[in-house]
């Protein structure tokens, strides 16, 4: 029998060990990719085997399951090219850190978070674009995040912890790091970090939220509502796919911030919502990677049209991901949002209206993006090639996971909680005169 205290260490050690052993096949990209994918699957297996013995919040445990899956799909969706080797290994290292932060007790978890943010800052600096302003802002934001996470690890004070949270789960004006990470990080990292960082942020929120003063909560609520609108507006204005996805998900994360700040607690529905938004954004990033692999990194999405007929598998999977991203049933984004709406005590104010606008805007910019790619006239000068096996597998996995998140009963994540119907009735008193 293994000592229960050692189990989180072992779970976190699997991907790290895999990353180190990956250097054995460093010169063979094909083998390294297969090896990295295998490591993520072994990590998933390790998590499943030890799931009941892992300690932590219910939200954290959901992400412990999702992280290896997200790492796996991120790796599967990449072409086997030597340029991506480092990104694959770093993905495994990040997975190790993520699992450690979610399962290991203090102070190991906070220290691992500091190291993770430092690593992301370094990577952003390494891949920065000197002619793009947000690139520097992104580096600065994650640098600040590293500092705050470090201070929080040492002192445990509320404000640095909150700052670390608003950088991890992006909140205006601390969103530049997130936008830069999604647009500047290489290979499999954007589609993985889109889940990794917000998941850790939500996990940290559980301890941070109860310590916040009323003023701080009010500030967060105002920022969240502004962020939801800002993200939607920015997404509507984008023609570049990764920026559109970054701002679109920022809008949804801001909605999440509003819910958790107003309730001052992280409900399981918040985890479902965050996990689904992140996975779907990651999935769309992978779908865009399919296009980039075929037509080049700097391809203009407006130049690619009519993919539906010559690339039917890609079209169907991308459409399903778009449905999920727009918040349509039966996927997790919708389920999470509905869950949050039903379990919150709403009042007639501007906030639900902002949530509704963010939700409506997503239908506009996501459908516009997907429509531009899939429909319209087929270009005779383009060579069309449908998804390869590994790309197909990665996109199918994302669709299936978000579908499962949508269908799973919330009781799976709640444990022994009171019936939600009873709570809704009790809270309805606030509506009465």
């Amino acid at each position: 029998m293994i000592d229960p205290i050692l189990i989180p260490w072992l779970v976190a050690a699997v991907p790290l060990l895999g990353a180190l052993l990956g250097f054995v096949v460093w010169s063979q990209p094909e083998k390294l990719k297969v090896w990295s994918v295998t490591v993520t699957l072994v990590s998933l297996l390790a998590v499943l085997v030890s799931f009941l013995k892992l300690t932590g919040t219910t939200e954290g445990l959901l992400f412990v399951l999702l992280l290896p899956l997200a790492a796996c799909v991120s790796l599967l969706g990449q072409p086997a090219h030597e340029e991506h080797r480092l990104a694959w290994v770093i993905t495994l290292v990040c997975l190790c850190m993520g699992l450690g932060i979610l399962t290991l007790p203090s102070p190991i978890g906070p220290i691992a978070l500091t190291l993770l943010l430092a690593l992301i800052t370094f990577l952003l600096y390494w891949h920065h674009d000197p002619f793009w302003g947000p690139s520097w802002l992104g580096i600065g934001t994650y640098g600040l995040g590293t500092l705050c996470a470090g201070i929080a690890a040492m002192t445990g004070s509320a404000i640095p912890s909150l700052l670390a949270c608003v950088i991890l789960v992006p909140l205006v004006p601390f969103h530049y790091g997130y936008v830069a990470a999604l647009t500047r990080l290489p290979g499999s990292l954007p589609s993985f970090t889109v889940l990794l960082l917000p998941a850790i942020g939500l996990h940290r929120m559980v301890t941070v939220l109860p310590t916040l003063s009323d003023t701080m909560v009010s500030v967060v609520i105002v920022l969240a509502l502004s962020g939801a609108l800002y993200g939607a507006i920015k997404a509507l204005a984008q023609s570049r796919v990764r920026l559109l996805l970054a701002y679109g998900s920022l809008s949804f994360f801001s909605v999440l911030w509003w819910f958790v700040a107003a309730a001052r607690t992280v409900r399981p529905q918040a985890a479902v919502f965050l996990g689904s938004v992140a996975l779907v954004t990651g999935g769309l990033l992978l779908a865009w990677q399919v296009i980039r692999t075929r037509y080049g990194d700097d391809v203009d999405p407006r130049a690619i049209t009519g993919l539906a007929a010559p690339m039917p598998q890609f079209a169907v999977l991308t459409s399903l991901l778009a449905l999920a991203a727009m918040g349509l049933p039966p996927f997790g984004v919708f389920a999470g949002l509905i869950g949050l709406l039903l379990t919150s005590s709403l009042t007639v104010s501007v906030a639900p209206l902002v949530v509704a606008i963010a939700w409506l805007a997503a239908s506009w910019y996501i459908l516009d993006l997907v429509q531009r790619l899939l429909f319209g006239r087929k270009r005779p000068d383009l060579r069309y090639e449908d998804v390869h096996q590994s790309e197909f597998a990665s996109l199918v996995m994302v669709v299936v996971i978000t579908f499962a998140l949508g269908l799973a009963p919330i009781n799976l994540f709640v444990g022994a909680s009171q019936p939600t119907g009873a709570r809704a009735t009790a809270e309805s008193v606030s509506w009465n005169r």
Binding site: Y176, I338, L342, A356, I410, W431
Partner: protein
């Protein structure tokens, strides 16, 4: 009666049969798939019989005490209303699918199209047999997306543009619907229809969104849900998606106009006990419905394209149906919905033939004013006058005496009768044209047909009302809730009468002098032409929405540029 879930599953099976398989057997599979859809129709008839004799069927795959633990509380509740709708949808679905096999023959994407028809039929069947509000909303949203996909020819820019606008506009309605659901759950803590109605009736809740303004819980919930219904049923001003979706293949229109667009009417009828608690919402529905009926019908008259004409006719009919709901005549609205669905599906499936014939035969459609009677015939004019003014009185007396419908207590019935007179007489006179034929035989046939149609319609509606709502007190309570203030009601009746008399007077004078002897002020003629242009251009609503969209995008780009300047 667990087998009831087979009815929505069979069209899904049909979709799978078409979808899965090799290219060689594509045509064969398309034909085989018609059988499951046909079987669904037979199953629907059996379900209707069962429900009529044994009572409602309930199948739930969740715990009704805490449905919010599942985001998708899947369950089926089939009462008489649902059973009737299921029969309509599966019946029309079967005809449309069978028609589509031939219609889409050799289309490169017929497999996708037929799959979507099967899937949409299944979604519609699930929606009308939903056990709770949340499931209804789920399929409601899926339907919005199905409409986008069913545009079919996505390589055609105008089709694509229309499909996009349809989807985004329907999403506006979806948001209102979602808000209504959330509010209903916050107030009453349930999604289950029966429990929701009971709690809403026994728990008076008053909301005060801002100081000095109060609104009752049922009114707030039903108003939001009504906006959701308005978008799907193409009510003014959310109607513009319907004409824009007319590029889709003709069978899609048949399904759209016979099934999908009825979703709004079905929603209101499904929630009739809740709507019956709010006179305000019913009055709003009456106003919106009346406005839509008038504007839709007027725009229809000014269109020069057969599909657009039918599209605006549907908008007018849907307005009429919502107006009936607003009058508390819920069963009448369902009856209308079914009659219109069958009628419009037939017309749409035939309109391709009409276009084809018109292209082949330059004499078709036949319309030569020179062949009309040159002399004024008092006979035809008198026929019209009797039809419009004397027969209504006869019907009123007969209704009151024979059918024993309490006219004095139900304003809705009176207004409904008014509309029957005007529309049916107009329809019949339009068919024969006022000056074309002057014959006693024709006039007698017209009068008798009108009497026959109206009485049969009244009997059918009355029987249908008893079938749908066996408890007469329930029907009476809806009428009572929808009662308009007496002064308003009297004004409407008087105004309708004056309008009818003036219209006939105008027609008389024009017919008598072939338009030459009647003096009409210049500004009236000018106004007539201006109005014609405005209605032909559909009140410039499309341009208005486009301008709104452009303004939003201008603001969006301004914000984006300012933000980009700040970050550089």
């Amino acid at each position: 009666m667990f087998a009831v879930i087979l009815v929505p599953l069979l069209p899904l099976l049909a979709a799978l049969i078409v979808l899965v398989g090799d290219e060689a057997s594509r045509q064969q599979r398309a034909k085989i798939a018609a059988y499951p859809i046909g079987a669904a129709f037979l199953g629907a008839i059996v379900t209707l019989w069962w429900v009529a004799t044994q009572g409602p069927i309930t199948v739930r795959f969740y715990d009704p005490v805490s449905p919010a633990t599942l985001a998708f509380p899947i369950g089926f509740y089939v009462d008489r209303l649902s059973a009737v709708m299921v029969v309509l949808i599966s019946g029309v679905g079967t005809i449309i699918y069978t028609y589509s096999i031939g219609y889409m023959y050799q289309d490169p994407h017929d497999r996708r199209y037929l799959t979507l028809i099967g899937f949409t039929t299944s979604v519609l069947l699930c929606m009308v047999s939903s056990a709770n509000l949340m499931m209804l909303f789920l399929f409601w949203q899926v339907l919005s997306f199905m409409l986008y996909l069913l545009a079919h020819n996505h390589a055609h820019a105008a089709t694509l543009d229309g499909a996009f606008r349809t989807f985004t506009l329907l999403r506006v309605g979806d948001i209102a619907f979602l808000s209504g659901i959330v509010l209903a759950y916050q107030l009453y803590g349930t999604f289950e229809f029966q429990a929701l109605f009971a709690k809403a009736a026994e728990t008076p809740v008053t909301l005060s969104p801002w100081p000095g303004f109060e609104i009752s819980g049922p009114t707030a919930v039903t108003l939001l849900l009504f906006i959701g219904g308005m978008s799907k049923s193409a009510q003014f001003p959310l109607h513009i998606w319907l004409p824009r979706s007319l590029y889709a293949p003709t069978p899609v229109h048949a399904l759209l106009h016979a099934g999908i667009i009825n979703a709004g009417g079905f929603l209101i009828n499904r929630l009739a006990p809740l709507f019956g608690l709010s006179s305000t919402t019913l009055h709003v529905a009456f106003v919106v419905g009346t406005l839509t009926a008038i504007l839709g019908a007027t725009m229809m008259l000014a269109q020069n394209d057969i599909k657009k004409t039918l599209g605006f006719s549907t908008i007018g009919q849907m307005g009429y149906m919502i107006m009936e709901c607003g009058l508390g005549a819920f069963s009448l609205a369902v009856f209308h919905l079914i009659a219109h669905g069958l009628f419009k599906a037939t017309v749409f499936l035939n309109c391709g033939n009409v276009i084809h014939k018109a292209r082949q035969d330059p004499e078709s459609p036949h319309a030569d004013p020179r062949e009309e009677e040159k002399e004024f015939s008092p006979l035809t004019w008198s026929t019209g006058f009797i039809t419009t003014l004397l027969i209504p009185l006869l019907i009123l007396l007969a209704t009151h005496g024979v059918l024993r419908i309490p006219l004095l207590e139900s304003q809705g019935t009176v207004i409904f009768l008014f509309f029957i007179w005007i529309t049916s007489s107009q329809a019949i006179l339009t068919l024969t044209r006022l000056r074309a034929i002057a014959s006693w035989k024709v006039s007698s046939a017209m009068l008798l047909t009108l009497l026959f149609v109206v009485f049969v319609y009244l009997f059918a509606v009355e029987s249908f009302t008893v079938f749908l709502y066996p408890n007469p007190d329930e029907v009476a309570s809806y009428f009572q809730a929808a009662d308009l203030p007496n002064w308003l009601f009297d004004s409407m009746v008087v105004m309708a009468t004056i309008l009818t008399v003036v219209s006939w007077g105008y027609l008389y004078m024009r017919a008598h002098g072939h338009g030459r002897m009647m003096w009409v002020p210049g500004w009236v003629e000018g106004l007539r032409f201006r109005l014609y242009v405005i209605f032909m251009n559909r009140l410039y609503m499309d341009e208005l929405y486009q301008a709104l969209g452009r303004s939003v995008m201008r603001i969006v780009h301004r914000v984006d540029k300012r933000d980009a300047r700040w970050t550089e």
